[in-house]
Symmetry: C2
Subunit: 144 residues, 2 copies
DNA sequence: GGTTTAGTGAAAATCAGCAGCAAAAGAAGT
DNA sequence: ACTTCTTTTGCTGCTGATTTTCACTAAACC
């Protein structure tokens, strides 16, 4: 009865098999609930089950991205993307330009805009990512 | 007198030197006005001036990103990011999940939210990126 | 023009992510 | 549970995109 995870359901809906590797990668993503690079995810998976291979983690990340469960974003100077879970199809955060700290926030008033955009551009919209860039309170204090 | 480009001004403001490599990378970014991968940018720079080295292109892209001029975004299928110019500090587009077509749009009603967020989280916000994911009109038609 | 030092080009080093294949394990039906 | 049919997996070696190193060039400023 661990098919509760809505993400597992999404896999099912798309005819994908629920494998050990995918389950573990999903668990890591849900547990960590942060913005992890592939390397960090691979390490976490390794810690949870050394039997899961690197390649499968990459394959899972790729699959989840194609299904809209995940979204890779580029943070800081690293060209390795971090992955964020698109819970409910959307995600929002503020990234500090100085210290790269990421501050997630929940409410976005984008439902109206989504509907307007669907009408205006004549397309269907399933989700969105909203990123703000700025300087966090700590870094502003440090500057002064 | 080609210091018109507002981006050149930004470089100046940050005490960065206006070098040949940076000028050319900027020109490519402004001319192409699309979502180009580092490889595409390197090729365009090469075509414009073979004297500019790869490494400098990467260094410029990195610098521009740190200054908020550019933003790397993930494009399906390629592990290398595409770069978008953050004209005026922000950028908005819709990505089709089927054909990966990108549709830029200009107006976003995010000024209010930006100010609310600044107050609520006690930080300064300089810009934002808003991505919508969906299925474009063409792909919907093709499905039917 | 001379000085200073950030920035550069070239080549070597690094490392994330991918490909190919035999073997393993979901899913579905019996 | 057993069988069968595919989908996935774990390996391992490889590729090509970034990064680093370092001696050299050229902005910026006097």
């Amino acid at each position: 009865m661990n098919s509760q995870s809505p993400y597992i359901q999404i896999l099912r809906q798309h005819g994908c098999r629920i494998t050990r590797a995918r389950r573990i990668v999903l668990r890591v993503l849900e547990d960590e609930a942060r913005h992890n690079t592939s390397t960090q995810i691979i390490e976490a998976v390794e810690a949870l089950d050394p039997g899961v291979g690197r390649a499968s983690v990459f394959r899972s990340l790729d699959l989840f991205t194609r299904l809209g469960i995940l979204r890779p974003i580029y943070i800081s100077g690293s060209m390795t993307p971090a992955y964020v879970l698109m819970s409910g199809g959307h995600h929002h955060h503020v990234i500090c330009s100085k210290c790269q700290a990421i501050h997630d926030f929940d409410d976005c008033g984008l439902d109206d805009m989504t509907r307007q955009l669907e009408t205006k551009l004549n397309l269907r919209i399933d989700g969105h990512l909203l990123e703000f860039y700025g300087v966090c309170a700590d870094c502003q204090a440090a500057d002064a």
